[in-house]
Structure formats: C-alpha cells, structure tokens
Amino acid sequence: MAAPAISLPPARLPGRPALRLGPFSIVWRPRVFLFGLLGLAVLVLGVALNVGIGEVQISVPDVLVTLFGGGDPGQRFIVMGLRLPRSLTGALVGAALAASGAITQAIARNPLASPDVIGFTAGASAAAVFVIVAGSGFGAVGFTASAVGLPIAALVGGLISALSIYGLAWRKGVQGFRLVLVGIGINAMLIAIVQWLLVVAQVTDAARAYTWINGSLNGRGWEHVVPVGVALVLLVPAALVLAHVLGALQLSDDSARGLGIRVDKERTLLLLTAVGLCSVATASAGPLAFVALVAPQIAQRAVGASRPPITVSLIFGAALTVVADLLARTAFGTELPVGIVTAVLGAPYLLYLIARHGRKVRA
C-alpha cells in the first residue's frame, strides 16, 4: 500500500490550493508560510542581538553558537543564565499577547477589540498591582504570595474583568462595537483602581509596581519564562483547534448558527483562551501596551487575510516585542521599559484604526 503523500494538485479554485495528508486538509496559503518564516527570522536575529548586547559584548554568531549548545563556559553563563531569559520572556509575552489579540479581534469582528484596549490586561494589571502592593503589607506571607501568585492573581483579575465586560456587553449575543465601548469604559475604571493602589501603597512597593505597569523586561529570569511558556503550550493548540469556527463566526451570528456553530459556547471558549494568554503574559512583563492590538493587524495585512491569522500574529508579536526591547535598551542612551517603546510605536496605529473606523461608519 502506498504511503499517504502530501498532494498539491493544480488549484481548481483560485486562491485555495489544498494541502492534504491522510485525513488532514488545509488551504495552502503561501503568504502565511512566507511571512511566518520572515517573522521567525526577525525574531531569532532580534533575540541574538538582544542577548549579545550588554557589559560584555558577544557577537551575533557567538550568541547563535551558544544558543545551539556551543560556546565557552563564560559565554554560556552570560547567555543562558542571564540574558536569554529576558529576551525569551519578551518573545513569549509578545507571542501570547498577539495570539490573544488575534482571537478577540476576530470574535468581535473589530480590530479595536484587543485585550489591551478593552480592559482584559487592565484587569490582570489591577490584580497584579494589588498583589505587589499588598506583598510587603502582609509581611513574609504576602511576599511569597507576590512571587508565586502573580500569574494566578493576574489570571483571576483578567478573567473577572473579561467576564464583567462580556456580561455588560451582552444583549442576546455580543456585538463587537458594544464590546469595545463597554471594554473601554471598564478599562478606564481599572486604570483608576491601579492609580489608587499606587497612591495608597508604600513608596518602595509603588516604585516596583510602577516599573511593572509600564511593561518591563528588566531582570526577567527563567521564573518568568516558565508561566508564559506553560500558558502558550497549553492554550495555543487549544486556540488553533477552536479557531476553526472563526471563519464562519466572522460573517454574523445568524450565518454562523445557520452553519451549525454553537455560537455562544464557541465564543466563550475562545474568549477564555484569549484571557488566559493575555493575563499570564501580563503577569510576567506587565501590560505591554499595544502589542496585542498591533501585531495581529500587521499580520492580517501581511498575509492578506480577512481576519488576523493566529500563528503569524503570535510570531509577529514575539518579534515586535523583542525588537522593541532592543530599541528600549539601546536607542535612548538610558534603558527604558519596553512598554514605553511599544506604546510609542502602537499609539499612532490605534489612532489610525479609530480614524479609519470613523470614516467607514460615515460612509
């Protein structure tokens, strides 16, 4: 019996050649593959540059050799022990945020419906800042809670805010624009809560929390890599399986129901996945502004799709964050929190999206 082979028959339908292997089949989209590879190349180069820069300069080839198991012990210690965890945290956090944004934007059929605009990451932030601030207030117990519990607290905070927003936006189903408006409102409230916590906190805690809420990768170690890594390993495959309904869900709730989708169930599952990704990412590096908004939109335009593609989005998110961190460390004389760079890069893009949306509504 012949082994099943990957077949690429001549396209009967323009733009939809098939990639089939046994029971598996997908549409072969060359641009997804190409931009995925391109994003990975930028990511690896960005990580290598980022890891090489510091008090001891290490060249990119040396970094790459060390990453793949070579190099002398001194370099190995600097690369693997000190600098790689920081870059890796950045890459994984960016990936998780972008994947989360790709999901929420597709569910709401609105690019503004990103976890950093509609209050999901703000919910995670508020909970995390509370833990940081409460940490020293409750002595040793509190301090342990802040070291171990930050990802959990952020997750709980993200879930509570997401469910509140979803609940408030609910009118026999969720319409994207209402989700955005309610989310922006809740987002503002949560930011106010964070500000209040900073005011009432002790000065040292407030300073720590303040760096954190700007989105910082400074001093990130393997203990920050692990939670995001675990979240990605668990939630990205889940998202890719669940994302199968996004194409139909994108049309309208009625069309999707007509195509046999249990809209509310699928949307809730996708939303929970997105909240998990962005909350754990936020716990590790603070609410990195605009990565979740921008990366999926750039990815969507790059591959020419009608909704953000999850895999390319997460690669772009990782690359964007690592490059932003590189800029934050090198371009301004003094080292800035990476979140300030992503905000400076992302804010104009948000304005552009809002202006464009306004034009479409009028048209």
Partner: protein, 277 residues
C-alpha cells in the same frame, strides 16, 4: 440517536412535509410577535412568505431555521423536533441566507463560498476534496466561477447575492431558507436571483422557503404563498387562490385590482391609488 448519521435516512418523496411549525409562539422579550402559528413546508416546493412590514415573517423564518427558540409550540424538521437534533446535523440539511448579510472586508468569493462547507469540516479537515468539489460546483451553478478570486465587497449587488446563495448551496442542503434575498437589488437583479431560485428548485430539487416583499414577483416565482398579518397566517395556498383583491385589502390595507400577468398568467397586483387619470 447516534451523532454521525444524518438526520434524514431516506430521501423523502414528493409531498413529504420537510419543515413543520406546530402552534409556534415567538416573542422578543415581552413582546409577542407570532402566536400559535401552524405551517407545513412540502418537499420540492418554493414557498414565499409575504405580508406587511412587522407582521413577523422574518421572525417565522428565523424560527424555522432554529435561530430563535419558540416560547410555545415546536418546529419539526423531517418529523423531529429541530432543537433535539445537533445543530451541525441540521446544518447539513437546512441552509440559511440571512437578511442583508455582510462579508468582512477583503474576503474573496471563493473564501466566502467555502465557509458554507463548515458543517462538513473539522479543525483537522478544513479543505477536503469534497469541499473543493462542492464549492466549485456551487460557483458554477450560480454563474460566478469567474469571480472566485474577487473580494466580495467589490461585487455588484446582484453578484454579491449570488455569492451568498452560492455559499448556501456549497453547504449541500436540500432545504434553503432565504430571508428577503432580493432586498436592495434593482428589478433586473431581483429577477436574476429569483430565476436562480427557480432553477435550484426545478433542476436541483431544492425545497425553498423565502421571505419576499414584492407581491408580483412572489406570485410569479412561488408555488405556495403564505400571507401573514399581525403574527398570524391569513391565507396559505397557490398564488392564484391567495392573491385576491379582498386579501390585499384585508392584509395590506391596499385597494388594488388583481389581473392575470400577461406573461405568465400568474396574479398581477395593480394598485388603484389616487393618481388615476
């Protein structure tokens, strides 16, 4: 029942009731829209639902398509309560074109029509040879194969509606529910879409229920007319029996003459109005 068998085991014969509404009551919140509605949709027919604005005709179609759950009574699909059949199995038998559907910016015609294959797919099986064949055929039937790689938002109104009907055809269902498929189209495109519906019915055996606004086109293109007023069915039958001057006065409050359409012989509504020479 097992999950993987299709709902219908045998091909129902001519005259079989495919969809039935039994004492269906429909409401939006506290507002009762339809009360105690009975309706049979017979295999192989084209049924048009007509009635004045707000009479509940689109609501009835939504209930027949299981988009809305009746607060009383039942909708039966091939004799089974529709809510008891897994929704994905229903989607293999019953296709739906919602009113004024919108496609996301940049979506191509082929990608839109391929969405119709969703009930036959899984996360690991997203573009099988069957899918490809069904989409190619649906594009062929609706005469838009040469538009396959064009974005839907760049098409004319008539072409766009063909693309959406094509999606419902790719779904491979023999029941089609169309909610005002001719809305926003000029007369030539309305006729074009309804000719396509006729062809789907006569050549490909599709059973069609559609909500229509234009009484003359409804009388021309439907085998059965269902006339609704205030959430009730007022008249139900062949166009020649239903489309009468007294019905128009009662249901639409319209003073009109009904004459024989000089082309097809079906009833033709001529409003009387005041501007008569």
């Amino acid at each position: 029942m097992t999950l993987h068998t299709t709902v219908r085991l045998d091909k129902p014969g001519q005259g079989a009731v495919r969809l039935r509404a039994e004492g269906v009551r429909l409401s939006y919140g506290d507002r009762l829209v339809v009360d105690g509605l009975d309706l049979d949709v017979v295999e192989g027919t084209v049924t048009a639902v007509i009635g004045p604005n707000g009479c509940g005709k689109s609501t009835v179609l939504r209930a027949l398509a299981r988009l809305m759950r009746p607060s009383g009574g039942h909708v039966l699909l091939d004799g089974k309560r529709i809510e008891s059949v897994p929704t994905k199995e229903v989607a293999k038998v019953l296709g739906l074109l919602p009113q004024a559907p919108t496609a996301p910016e940049g979506l191509t015609v082929a990608d839109l029509v391929a969405r119709g294959r969703h009930p036959h797919q899984a996360w690991y099986r997203q573009w099988s040879a069957d899918d490809e064949g069904a989409v190619a055929q649906a594009l062929e039937w609706t005469g838009i194969a040469d538009l396959a790689d064009r974005p839907v938002d760049e098409l004319s109104g008539g072409q766009r509606q063909r693309a959406w009907i094509s999606m419902a055809l790719a779904q491979g269902t023999d029941l089609l529910l169309l909610d005002e498929p001719t809305t926003y189209l000029d007369l030539a495109h309305q006729v074009e879409v309804l000719e396509l519906v006729t062809q789907l019915n006569s050549e490909f055996g599709r059973t069609v229920v559609m909500v229509l606004h234009d009484l003359n086109l409804a009388a021309r293109y439907a085998d059965r007319l269902v006339t609704m007023k205030d959430g009730q069915i007022v008249a139900h039958g062949a166009p020649g029996d239903v489309m009468t001057e007294s019905m128009l006065a009662e249901v639409f409050g319209l003073a009109a003459r009904v004459i024989a359409d000089p082309v097809a012989g079906t009833p033709l509504v001529v409003p009387i109005g005041s501007r008569v020479g």
